[in-house]
């Protein structure tokens, strides 16, 4: 490939420079030898520089000049009398070439002007002027690159294409960089390809390969590496870069899950990681395996990276991987320890704790774990954390504390429905009807489940619809809510020691709510709860049909625990449609408790008729996806949504969960695609996702 070829490629890519085609109206040669041997006349080659360098004994410059002339004029042969006494006797010109060799361009310009003053009409040799233009342009281009003026770099390159030759390697590299910085990586590849197919210097070739590796990937990089030559000893010239290439490949795949790497690559990097003593390779493998969904394996790599002082990123990965392996409690100490190492570590800690605390039933947590989380939440004004502390307090029966945390979360994130719902529920428990009514008024028309807390009519409506759509969302079942951080004061009390869920739930559900119990629903052929007395029920003296009716009734009253008992009776003693109905009711009751797995078990206790089975599965999978997302098990959330997708179309809010799951897994490409599609469909909340990706990816690459 001749120098002109690469220039052409560069110019085509340089959108910053208009009217570049004009550069090619009179090319000094055509591309390639075959074309040049055809019709092109042999051009007049200016050999004065060559003769000057020969006379000076400057072999390096002599070689460079010969290479330059050969690139320009493929037919040209160096003169045989190169070392005979110079034909050019003009001492001024000799002096000018000497200045050129010293890079004293200003002196040459001054000397030319001086000579022209003394001798009107005098012209310096054309070659000297060309070389001077190129030398100045190269210097200017390098200065522009140093100042990050990339459009300027490309403009200078197009104005003086003659300098884009192997002898100006620094210029070629900077032009390539300018293309990268102006989002024209393909053009950068053309420059690297030109160097690797044309330029001979082994060090420069190696450095070029390294630069290409930093900016390109995939087939483009492979195509460049295919240009490598064999060293005199027969080994490929870039063999020393193999490990670097490997690391780069896997590292890219770790950041972008749409990329795949071969098992050999992984095996080779694993070997490097085990044999090495630095954390880097283990870290790359940790992220790679984690994002490929193998959290358990990722734990080991992150652990190795952390042990080798891999720092904040290793700690973050370790926390996420442990969490993803269902070992969130184990992750807590390390997450806490690294919470101040960086924004990502902070987020990892808060998300981990939010997941732990929001789990229903609440896990047994050491008091200190909860206590030390609260100040971090307050300091960061992390609404997600405040809300999680709210659910934890709520689920452990600490209703005033729950109300306090939910109130805080609402202050920090007024738009967050889940926090508002939590505050509404707590207020109801505390008989704080002023707060409850205020929240209901704020969310009127926006949240049916909040309205249902004060409106029996809404409750009936929702209950009637329940089987057809998602069941009433659970307290802790949160839609994804990227944490916003508005200002507010911190609550004063931390949650008290945990209380078993059953106690709290029964207390809650069997207590105050009854006083506000709505009239039993008339839908689905259910009967009033009074159809069977509590005493008869406890004694087991009740028909399966009555038990099922009682179950539906209790479910309507938002007393799912009791409803489960009733449905159990229906399953155990009933048959056919009664048993099916009971099993369906039991799954819905579990769903309402957030106990997705149990719901699924209940659903298979009897065979469901096909339509209902589908409906139920859709509900189950919806709940499973939401629960998995809430617990930061993002891979499972996506799997559940995939499964659900086979049964029913995905609604926009579930697509948001999917997108945020990809986001949490750092698969920004997939997340971005969904967010963009949603936004294009008018789903405004998707904008937050796009912004989050932009923020994170910038951070990621910086």
């Amino acid at each position: 490939m001749s120098s002109l070829r690469v220039i052409l490629l560069i110019l085509i890519g340089a959108a910053a420079v208009p009217a570049i085609g004009q550069q090619f109206t009179s090319p000094p040669s055509s591309e390639g030898t075959s074309a040049a041997t055809g019709t092109a006349p042999t051009p007049q080659v200016d050999e004065s520089a060559l003769r000057f360098f020969a006379a000076q004994g400057d072999n390096a410059r002599l070689e460079a000049e010969m290479a330059r002339l050969r690139a320009l004029y493929p037919n040209w042969q160096p003169p045989k009398d190169l070392f005979s006494p110079t034909l050019d006797q003009d001492p001024d010109i000799a002096r000018m070439w000497e200045l050129f060799a010293q890079g004293k361009f200003s002196d040459i310009r001054a000397a030319i002007a001086q000579r022209q003053e003394a001798e009107s009409g005098w012209q310096p040799p054309a070659d000297l002027l060309t070389r001077l233009d190129e030398g100045e342009a190269a210097r200017r281009l390098v200065n522009a690159a140093e100042a990050k003026q990339w459009a300027s770099v490309l403009r200078i390159a197009t104005e003086t294409p003659g300098m884009l030759v192997c002898g100006n390697m620094d210029v070629l590299w900077r032009v390539a960089e300018a293309f990268v910085r102006t989002e024209a990586a393909a053009r950068a590849k053309d420059v690297y390809a030109y160097i690797l197919s044309t330029c001979p210097d082994p060090q420069e070739r190696l450095a070029t390969a390294q630069k290409a590796m930093q900016t390109l990937d995939g087939p483009e990089l492979d195509a460049l590496l295919a240009l490598q030559r064999a060293k005199p000893d027969g080994t490929p010239e870039f063999a020393s870069l193999d490990s670097d290439f490997l690391r780069t490949r896997v590292g890219r795949a770790a950041e972008d899950t749409t990329l795949t790497v071969s098992a050999e690559d992984i095996g080779a990097l694993e070997q490097l990681a085990r044999n090495g003593s630095t954390p880097d390779d283990a870290l790359v493998l940790g992220w790679y395996t984690f994002r490929q969904g193998d959290a358990a394996k990722a734990v080991d790599w992150f652990k190795l990276a952390l042990d080798r002082k891999g720092g904040a990123s290793a700690a973050e990965g370790y926390v996420l991987a442990l969490e993803g392996s269902g070992r969130a409690l184990e992750a807590e100490p390390i997450a806490y320890q690294w919470r101040d190492a960086g924004a990502d570590n902070r987020t990892a800690y808060i998300d981990l704790m939010a997941g732990l605390l929001s789990t229903s039933p609440p896990p047994r947590l050491d008091q200190s774990i909860v206590a030390r989380f609260a100040p971090v939440v307050s300091q960061d004004k992390a609404a997600v954390g405040a809300q999680a502390l709210g659910w934890y307090a709520y689920n452990t029966g600490q209703i005033p504390t729950a109300a306090s945390w939910f109130r805080t979360a609402v202050q920090w994130a007024p738009e967050d429905e889940v926090s508002a719902y939590g505050l509404a529920l707590s207020s109801m428990r505390l008989k704080d009807s002023a707060t409850l009514d205020a929240i209901a008024a704020t969310w009127a028309g926006k949240s049916e489940r909040i309205l249902a807390l004060v409106s029996p009519a809404t409750r009936r409506e929702l209950a009637a619809r329940a089987p057809a759509s998602s069941p009433l969302p659970l307290p802790a079942a949160s839609a994804p809510t990227p944490a916003s951080r508005p200002a507010a004061t911190a609550p004063s009390s931390a949650p008290a020691a945990p209380v078993p869920l059953n106690v709290a739930a029964n207390d809650r559900l069997g207590g105050e709510t009854t006083s506000r119990a709505p009239a039993p629903s008339a839908g689905r052929g259910r009967h009033a709860c009074s159809g069977a007395s509590d005493a008869a029920f406890r004694a087991g003296r009740i028909s399966p049909e009555a038990a099922v009716a009682r179950g539906w009734c209790l479910l309507d009253l938002d007393r799912p625990r009791e409803a489960i008992n009733a449905f159990d009776l229906g399953i155990g003693n009933g048959a056919g449609r009664t048993a099916e109905d009971a099993a369906y009711g039991k799954s819905l009751a579990y769903l309402r408790l957030g106990l997705t797995n149990q719901a699924q078990l209940a659903a298979v206790e009897t065979a469901q008729p096909p339509a209902r089975a589908v409906e139920l599965s859709v509900d189950l999978l919806t709940q499973r996806a939401i629960a998995a997302y809430r617990d930061a098990r993002y891979v499972e959330a996506i799997l559940a949504l995939d499964e659900r997708n086979r049964l029913a179309p995905e609604e926009q809010d579930l697509m948001m969960i999917r997108a945020w799951s990809y986001f949490k897994l750092r698969d920004f490409a997939s997340a971005g695609r969904i967010f963009k599609a949603l936004r294009a469909a008018g789903y405004a909340e998707a904008g937050a996702g796009i912004n989050a990706i932009m923020a994170v990816t910038r951070q990621w690459r910086s």
């Binding site: 200003s106 002196d107 000397a111 001086q114 003053e117 210097r139 200017r140 200065n143 522009a144």
Partner: protein, 326 residues
């Protein structure tokens, strides 16, 4: 018109072989303004070789911005040498003006082309409607109403009036005439404090009076003292600001330009160097016909800035007021 002796004294002292004009009172840095002065003086001295030398440095080292204007600050001790990529728009005006003059007089189309490019870029980047006026922003970033609460912040000594008609021929789409008019209007309004002098850096918001700009010393100082020279060089002799400055220098400060505190009107320093005294003498010559004192008839190169002002003054007197040199 600059004599070979004066020019040679200046060049050997302040211009290095690479064509860099050295601000020796300022850490030996160079800047776009100095390069522009150097090119203008080389043109006035008729020295094509030095012009080429200075232009080569300017082009390769400073004229590297994406927008076609010059980076303003170049430090020999720094790597990379350009330590502030922002623009000082008076530097670009001087460079374009010198190129335009030399291109026409010496018939070098390349110079005129380069001058045109800079003039157009100035029109796009630095000459804007701000605060209800057409203004010359001192830099491309950091001075506009959008970027500063007290913006736009202006430097009235960046209005090099003599250049505007020349650049108007090259970039007629830019309203150079309007810029000259707004400059004169601002000068008539900017006579602040008891001494009624224009501060170096002035805030000119749309909704309020002109005041010294925040973050700058509120002085009539080294920037503003060249305003009277620029006006004279553009053939303007009858402005109030010239009369006030003449009174301040000749009557109140014994023939010496002074740095004056705007809020108090008191002189903070009197500048006795020949280059600065030449400014006062030139003003007195133009307005009152006073002769240039004998000790100011040859360059006594002290420092870059006063020496530059000296040569610009002397060339003006020689051309327009030769009687003051008799």
């Amino acid at each position: 018109m600059i004599s070979p002796e004066d020019w040679s004294a200046y060049g050997s002292r302040f211009i290095d072989p690479s064509g860099r004009v050295i601000d020796d009172a300022n850490g030996n840095i160079s800047h776009s303004e100095g390069q522009g002065y150097g090119m203008l003086l080389a043109f006035l001295a008729g020295d094509k070789a030095s012009f080429e030398r200075i232009w080569t440095f300017t082009r390769t080292e400073l004229l590297i911005r994406d927008d076609g204007l010059a980076a303003w600050r170049w430090d020999p001790k720094a790597d990379p040498h350009v330590t502030d990529i922002n623009v000082a728009s008076d530097g670009d005006i001087l460079i374009a003006y010198a190129l335009a003059l030399a291109g026409r007089a010496w018939k070098v189309p390349d110079y005129e082309e380069s001058a045109t490019r800079i003039a157009k870029a100035l029109g796009q980047q630095a000459i804007r409607r701000e605060g209800g006026r057409l203004v010359l922003l001192p830099g491309v970033t950091g001075f506009s109403a959008e970027e500063r609460p007290d913006g736009p912040v202006l430097n009235l000594s960046y209005w090099i009036f003599e250049a505007f008609p020349v650049l108007a021929r090259l970039a007629p789409e830019v309203d150079w005439e309007g810029l000259a008019a707004s400059g004169k209007e601002l000068l008539s309004l900017a006579r602040l404090g008891p001494a009624k002098l224009p501060p170096d850096w002035i805030s000119a918001p749309s909704n309020g009076p002109l005041v010294p700009a925040e973050g700058f010393e509120p002085v009539f100082g080294y920037n503003s003292l060249r305003i009277v020279l620029y006006l004279l060089r553009a053939g303007i002799t009858d402005t109030d600001v010239q009369k006030v400055v003449l009174d301040n220098w000749m009557v109140q400060n014994g023939g010496m330009p002074a740095i004056v505190n705007i809020p108090t009107g008191k002189a903070l320093a009197r500048l006795s160097e020949p280059g600065y005294r030449m400014l006062a003498a030139t003003l007195a010559c133009a307005i009152d016909g006073s002769a240039i004192p004998a000790d100011l008839r040859r360059l006594q190169p002290s420092q870059y800035y006063p020496s530059t002002l000296y040569l610009l003054s002397l060339s003006l007197v020689g051309e327009k007021y030769p009687t003051c040199l008799r």
